[in-house]
């Protein structure tokens, strides 16, 4: 047993940290730190800075223009990004579609789409879920009917994250109704400017504007936009779920949130003493910190296994459950530490020129919204219940 990072890994961490200190724009870090909403331009700006450095594709193999870093380096990189309060990189192109194209796409598709998702030309969104097909994704009904050299797509996708910004959507569509539902699904790339597509916003409970409904009426999609083979889409979607999930626990992000929570608890006063010294609150913080410490080691164990070439097992489901629950608990404690001021809605406090007084302490004006918004994390990407079903199936086997 050796729980330490190697000398090389430690130096790598230093390099990443130094580069971030130099290159992450202060206004973006400030927004991320206070959970202020990011614009499309904010996200693209950061993406392009990373792209120029060659780190945008940090999880990609070298042959596709990636860094070729192993799981441990990727983990370190993500941790440092979180500590620096860098904008989160959207997974849809880089971590979802990208790997699918590398594995199952044609050479033409790889050459065309991969560079464009990096240089900011194409913003991708994910069109899997439908109103009737959430956890039971295979029951999806959006149809694609082949007519000559194109498909005609009809149906509705929903929960499409940031689809309002998207140039392209990758969709699971039904191309056959014979056999098992999983066997009639295809993976299709659809240009969002195609006639017949309508994007309708869904407002979230925190008032945010991050998800959409996407409606398709007789949308023509060239057959070249099919990834892999017809009716094999389910295999490709599942490939995504079982790969590249070593980063799912969000250790860096949670460590960063814990640090911020501790700062807040040190400055808030209860009975004349810092909240951090209040026995009830201190116990709450300690419990989540311990869970996080344990999870970090669990995550590193999984990484070491992946680095050695081991196949991923139920661990990714475990990390998804743990990571999201810890994240949610941290948002709960942060809101709690604000006391009465957690109720205040003061978006004006985001303005660079705002000169107070703050109702919630500076930088925490979005904490309650974040708490509610984070309820989504145990619902999407395979809900906690679905992950538990998976763990049981893989280990208990009944």
């Amino acid at each position: 047993m050796d729980l330490n990072f190697t000398q090389e890994e430690l130096e790598f961490r230093e390099d990443v940290r130094a580069w971030l200190a130099e290159n992450l724009p202060g206004d973006l870090a400030r927004k991320v730190r206070s959970d202020a909403p990011l614009t499309k331009d904010d996200m693209l700006r950061w993406q392009l800075i990373l792209h120029e450095k060659g780190w945008l594709t940090y999880s990609w193999p070298a042959e596709f223009g990636g860094t070729g870093w192993g799981p441990v380096k990727q983990f370190i990189f993500e941790e440092e990004m979180a500590y620096a309060c860098a904008p989160r990189l959207l997974p849809f192109g880089l971590r979802m579609l990208g790997p699918v194209l590398m594995k199952f796409g044609s050479k033409e598709q790889q050459d065309y789409y991969l560079p464009r998702m990096c240089d900011g030309t194409d913003w991708w969104c994910q069109g899997y879920s439908e109103p009737g097909a959430g956890s039971d994704l295979a029951s999806l009904k959006t149809t694609a009917v082949r007519e000559g050299d194109h498909y005609v797509v009809n149906g509705q996708k929903t929960w499409t994250t940031l689809g309002q910004h998207a140039d392209w959507i990758f969709c699971l569509v039904r191309t056959s109704t014979t056999g098992k539902p999983q066997e009639g699904i295809s993976f299709l790339l659809i240009d969002m400017t195609s006639p017949g597509i309508e994007v309708r916003p869904i407002q979230t409970i925190d008032g945010g504007r991050e998800v959409n409904e996407v409606w398709f009426t007789d949308v023509k999609v060239p057959v070249e936009n099919l990834v892999g083979e017809e009716n094999k889409g389910w295999t490709y979607a599942k490939y995504l779920l079982t790969h590249e999930r070593t980063n799912i626990a969000g250790v860096g992000k949670s460590n960063q949130e814990l640090a911020r929570l501790k700062e807040l608890a040190a400055s808030q006063k209860r009975n004349g003493k810092p909240l951090a010294e209040d026995p009830h609150f201190a116990a709450r913080m300690a419990r989540v910190e311990i869970d996080l410490m344990n999870m970090e080691i669990t995550n590193l164990r999984v990484l070491a296994q992946a680095e050695a070439g081991g196949a991923p097992g139920p661990e990714s489901s475990m990390l998804k459950i743990l990571g999201t629950e810890i994240e949610q608990e941290l948002t709960d404690l942060t809101r709690r530490a604000l006391g009465r001021s957690a109720q205040a809605l003061t978006p004006e406090a985001d303005d660079p020129g705002f000169n107070g007084p703050y109702v919630a302490p500076e930088g925490f004006q979005h904490a309650t919204g974040v708490y509610f918004n984070h309820r989504k994390t145990t619902i999407y990407g395979g809900s906690t219940e679905i992950q538990k079903n998976i763990i049981n199936k893989m280990i208990v086997g009944l």
Partner: protein, 364 residues
């Protein structure tokens, strides 16, 4: 032993229920919470006409109730329909203080719904502690002048006056301050209401009750507020309970209604038993209003602690059981869940009341 309400209280709750069911759509309430003044003054007036406010005050103050169970019945009904009219903040709380200070005209107007007052007690540096007061009052002529800052003053727009806590040489006292004496910065609240930061810079104030008696008067009002919030919370939980049961019975995934999944059945069962625990806490607290401290204080603290803990559980579990739909603004559940969680941020959260429970237990 008898766990049913009197006929009068049953009639009152039926009246409120019927009115709100017909005439208080959630959509209007949500919209009001996003615009000025943050609630629906016309609805507030109707509620007063229905006797909602009179039920909160005893006969000798011009009401027809005022006991713990009256408060519990009213606020449970308001909670069920997510009413955000400031019955607690502009009537129950200030009314009980003004009554204690012998301001009978003001109380009558409150009961009639023609006057509203707001309490400005908590300060920016304080975490729920009403004794953490830095605002100062100095005697000047036959009046007082106040200087300081108050935070999260609920429902201040259109108020006829503010009840402000401030320190004098004799400890904490309460003062009545006219609206033109304060400066306000208004903002919306997360659960669809409104609040203000309030600044006092040599504001003129009228002493309420005896100098130095403020802390005790505030505590009396706080106990009533905690009971009201706990009952409101219970009402909200009941609506969430109905919505969630209905959803579990109709939403299908994998070819069956999701209520068939045992994982969800157990989560739901836990929610159901905790809501019954919350109901018991509210009944116990309503009853305790007639008891003396420290017993009363202990039971009130126990109720707010329970409501805080169970409220969070019910809000989070109901969202999880619903899945993505519960994350949307358009679906009603989220609005109920937000108010439920925000109740833990008023008049002391669960940790605050757990500590109070322990302390009062030592005193007992």
């Amino acid at each position: 032993m008898e766990f049913t309400h009197t006929d009068t209280r049953r009639m009152l709750s039926d009246t409120i229920d019927r009115y709100l069911r017909d005439k208080y759509p959630l959509s209007a309430r949500v919209e009001a919470g996003q615009s000025e003044p943050g609630f629906q003054p016309a609805q507030y007036e109707v509620l007063a006409e229905l006797g909602v406010i009179a039920a909160l005050f005893p006969e000798d103050q011009g009401g027809f109730g005022g006991e713990g169970f009256d408060i519990a019945v009213v606020f449970e009904e308001l909670g069920k329909r997510l009413v955000n009219e400031p019955v607690m903040d502009n009537a129950l709380v200030p009314g009980s203080i003004l009554a204690a200070a012998g301001q009978s005209d003001a109380v009558e107007n409150i009961i009639a719904g023609t006057a509203r007052y707001a309490l400005a007690a908590e300060e920016p540096q304080a975490l729920y502690d009403l004794a953490d007061v830095e605002t100062r009052a100095e005697a000047k002529g036959d009046g007082w002048t106040l200087t300081g800052a108050k935070s999260m003053v609920k429902y201040s727009p259109g108020c006829d006056g503010f009840i402000v806590s401030a320190r004098t040489g004799k400890g904490i006292s309460l003062f009545l301050v006219a609206p033109d004496q304060v400066s306000l910065r208004d903002y919306a609240t997360f659960d669809g209401g409104c609040a203000s930061e309030l600044a006092l810079d040599g504001a003129e104030g009228q002493l309420l009750g005896k100098e130095g008696a403020g802390a005790a008067m505030l505590q009396e009002a706080a106990d009533r507020a905690v009971l009201a919030l706990s009952a409101e919370s219970l009402g909200i939980m009941q609506t969430i309970r109905e919505m969630t049961i209905e959803y579990l019975r109709t939403r299908k995934q994998f070819g069956v209604v999701i209520g068939k999944f045992q994982a969800l059945q157990h989560r739901m069962a836990e929610m159901l038993l905790e809501i019954e625990q919350a109901r018991s806490a509210v009944i116990n607290a309503a009853n305790a209003m007639a008891l003396a401290d420290p017993e009363r204080a202990r039971i009130i603290a126990a109720a707010k602690y329970s409501i805080g803990r169970i409220g969070r559980l019910v809000a989070e579990e109901s969202i999880q059981l619903h899945g993505g739909i519960a994350m949307t603004w358009e679906y009603d559940l989220g609005h109920f869940a937000k108010r439920l969680v925000m109740i833990d941020h008023e008049w002391g959260d669960q940790d605050f009341h757990l500590a109070r429970f322990i302390e009062e237990g030592r005193a007992a």
